[in-house]
Amino acid sequence: MADTITLEVTRYSPELETEPRLQEYEVPLRKDWVVLDALNHIKDKVDGSLTFRWSCRMGICGSCGMMVNGEPKLTCATFLSSYAAQGRIRVQPLRYFPVVRDLVVALEDFMGKLQSVKPWLIRKEEKPLSEGEYLQTPEQLDLYKQFSMCINCVLCYAACPVVGLDPGFIGPAAIALAQRYNMDSRDQGAQERMDVLAQHEGIWGCTFVGDCTKACPKKVDPAGAIQQYKLTATLDRLKSFLMPWGAK
């Protein structure tokens, strides 16, 4: 293995330029280093102005998502040695998000979409404390567990072309999280969420490209969640059409 590897990193300083550019850095190619280690090396030893988000460095906080050679990746989980053959790694901010500075993207849009699907347990009536906790069997847990693994890293948004093409599309993670609550036996908010999701863009912008599931580091399968929800929303529409008097 060579001693060093070249990183081509996006630099963007709104005070100084109108468009991002690429800057090259030579970093040590250590067997156990990930891209995040390389970025921190640059910031500590080479160029302190490089700006990027990171936190747990172990793949659970979801902060360090970036495009690595065109693929959305968690930089704390992407080894430099995987790219040793090419000798160069291009590190860019997540696709389809506005760039604030260097590798930092603005996530307000995603946060708004996530909040709109009400990702929390909604109860029509709360049980009184005296009745004890809400019990759930392992089978009931299994219905939504996969979708609960989401760490909001938004790699799926960077993978989904519809996110880039259709600003109204709620997006993979938000829909998967809506499903996480819809399928939770303790939740009673499915109809409330349907009002948001079943709007024209909501979920219907999705054309099942499937790249979101490929990009997900936590195996959430948002594409599956969305298709299942299309079926749910359709059955709900049919039910309300055939039986409009039915209670919610």
Partner: protein, 117 residues
């Protein structure tokens, strides 16, 4: 409730069309439009084929095939125009072109199948 979109209906038509098209079109296209005319497989006689098509069950199956396949195309093509060519702003033209076209094609199919003599 009122502001829920009508996408589910269009999506169901698309899905049904996808299923019907997947099961029936490959074999029909291969036999009717390649194997028979090019002589790879001996084609049925004119009278035999006409007799087969005239059966009520055949006409119904073919109509279902045409109707759902056309609506499958309409839905998929509409989104291809939105996303592929990024012309969603032309929705006023795209929507009627796609679903209107599917409807016209279906009526035409119905007419032809009804009048197979």
């Amino acid at each position: 409730m009122a502001k829920r979109s009508n996408e589910p209906i269009l999506w169901v038509l698309f899905s049904a069309g996808g299923v019907v098209a997947a099961f029936l079109i490959p074999v029909l296209l291969f036999l009717l439009f390649l194997a028979f005319p090019l002589g790879w497989i001996e084609s049925p006689s004119y009278t035999g084929l006409l007799g087969l098509v005239r059966l009520p069950i055949t006409r119904v199956v073919l109509f279902i095939l045409c109707f759902f396949s056309l609506f499958h195309w309409a839905h998929r093509f509409r989104y291809t125009l939105y996303d592929g060519l990024q012309i969603k702003h032309l929705n006023q033209l795209i929507f009627p072109f796609c679903y209107g076209g599917a409807l016209v094609g279906s009526v035409l199919a119905g007419y032809i199948l009804w009048n197979m003599g």
